[in-house]
Symmetry: C2
């Protein structure tokens, strides 16, 4: 590892997890951090997310050789401008943003004289903020690095080594391909989950209390990702608009075909479609990208999980 | 508890779980069982899912005072006909089918002289078959009982007590309202999950291996329910067609509205929608219907979960 001092801008789920992971797996590296929210800074200091929480972004980056922007996509440009004057000339600039073409552009405009290599750890939970981070977040997860065409190969290999040290498996990809892949594996699933949870909230025939009570039939799986941070996800859809709309178009076509099969009572089409999708789950589990236990290993209906198994309103 | 002998027809996830739960929580009740699949019967006997696995449905119900049909929705009528001659006149007939109007009709036609009170435990996993059941499946879950208008109230209260003894909370509802509620909390989520997993399998621009690798960004949540049994789910959509199509229509309208917001860059509409859906998750957790831990408590990226954190193909 050749980075000695890593600055983290934004101390929420991603920034906090990086800070904790560096301390756990790269104990010789010094970490500094900054967040625009004073309450987040205080909490970050209490949780020791980084060695030193600074009061300004300039102070946080003053001596660093790597700065990682861990702010919402819409804030990347501003956050980068705030460090321009203080950032050492040879510091590598990176980020963790969920869409990559837009971020590359924003960072490039704000820091035209620095080497910039964007990255995206495909790892997260539905939680955000200074309390959400944990050191193991990136373990057994992929981190996609999207270097521009002519990049500094030494710094690229340092960045790859950095993420590998945090437990991630690194893949290198063009930013535009990244945005297409993530549109289907992450952005479209979130859009659909947000939609159905909204639909279920607006029904007249079925009460909200019924939706919640009987959510174990499948609905609850969607509510987890539909509880993700609204700012982050607004920014994702605004910044990866084209790829998301493309994938949404395909999804709608497929949904229309299944709708038709239901309407005309075509059981064979339904069965064949449903039989095909099992293999995907199997592969995901084989590749270590999900928990193989039934129900993701949830413990909520196990006898020992709650002292009183009765819901509050019964 | 006034049932002494319970017969279970179909020894998969539901039938097996009922058998194990009765033995765990109602140790005085004798259970018999039958499944049309000989391999399932053998495995059921090995796992002791019921006290006695019988070679015919007639033998299984011969002395029972409660028979519960735990077969796919499309097989309810046939399974009921197979016991008609052998079923004691005063035995209560019930089932666990996921849609209720169609089942009430099928059981009523096959067993016109018996008291029939359908039920639906809103509890399941993505697994099926003789190995899938476990005694705690129904704990802290709702079981919806859908008695016909003029029912035998003594038998109704016995059935309620039976499900409560297995750890469930019982709700009584009309069959048609049940079918509407479940269309939104279970059937529509499954349809959408099956659709998106199919969509992701058919892309030319993004490989299947990429979809699997980066599934932790949200997609993997959908693959779990899209790995559910194809026969069961074909039957659900064929048997609850009208309610599913109604709910699907609402969903499509809402998705179109969000699609438009993305297309025109209306961040405010997106943010407001995304902020609204968080409350639903909170209620589900407060009412004990999901695991509150981040990521459903998945352990797949924890350091101690896998000995080798590297995916196989890296
Ligand atoms: N969550 C995920 O699952 C996930 C996964 C992969 C990548 N990402 C990406 O990671 C980035 C951060 O996400 P997160 O989940 O860590 O969000 P988060 O928990 O909300 O943390 C972001 C933090 O950045 C702060 N911030 C905003 N503007 C800033 C600025 N100009 N300077 C310094 N701090 C600023 C925010 O403060 P305020 O609260 O005051 O705005 C907040 O504390 C996003 O770009 C997202 O796309 C997220
Ligand atoms: N899975 C869930 O999450 C869930 C939740 C609530 C309710 N339900 C309902 O529960 C019922 C059973 O579902 P499950 O998940 O337990 O399915 P399962 O694990 O596939 O078990 C069903 C069993 O019934 C057998 N069977 C089929 N026709 C039969 C007949 N005429 N006589 C005797 N056995 C027969 C099947 O054998 P073959 O394999 O040879 O067909 C299979 O072994 C369905 O009506 C479903 O709607 C399911």
């Amino acid at each position: 590892m050749t980075f000695q001092r890593v600055a983290i801008i934004g101390l929420g789920l991603q920034g906090g997890s990086i800070g904790l992971a560096v301390q756990a797996y790269l104990p010789d590296v010094v970490t500094t951090g900054y967040d625009r929210d004073a309450i987040t800074r205080t909490r970050a200091a209490e949780r020791r997310l980084v060695h030193k929480v600074c009061d300004t972004a300039a102070e946080a980056v003053a001596d660093c050789d790597l700065v990682i922007f861990c702010v919402p996509l819409g804030a990347m440009g501003i956050a980068a401008e705030q460090v321009r004057a203080a950032l050492p000339a040879d510091a590598l600039v990176s980020d963790v943003g969920s869409s990559k073409q837009v971020v590359a552009k924003a960072l490039g405009e704000a820091l035209p004289d620095h080497v910039i290599i964007p990255a995206h750890p495909v790892a997260g939970t539905e939680n955000s903020g200074a309390d959400a981070g944990f050191a193991e977040l990136f373990r057994n997860r992929w981190c996609i690095v999207t270097p521009p065409p002519q990049t500094n190969l030494v710094k690229l290999s340092q960045l790859v080594a950095f993420w590998e040290a945090l437990g991630a498996n690194v893949e290198i990809m063009d930013a535009d391909h990244h945005d297409l892949v993530l549109a289907v594996t992450s952005h479209l699933p979130h859009l659909i989950a947000y939609t159905i949870v909204g639909t279920a909230s607006d029904l007249e025939e079925v009460t909200q209390s019924e939706v919640i009570k009987y959510s174990a039939g499948g609905f609850r799986d969607f509510t987890r990702i539909a509880a993700s941070d609204p700012t982050m996800w607004r920014d994702v859809f605004l910044s990866n608009r084209q790829a998301v709309l493309t994938m949404l178009q395909r999804f709608t076509e497929d949904l229309t075909a299944l709708q038709r099969a239901i309407r005309i009572g075509d059981g064979e089409t339904l069965f064949n479609h449903f039989a095909r999708t099992r293999a995907t789950r199997r592969s995901i589990i084989e590749e270590g990208q999900d928990d193989a236990r039934p129900d993701f290993g949830r413990a909520d209906h196990r006898a020992d999980h709650r002292t009183d198994p009765k819901p509050a309103d019964s």
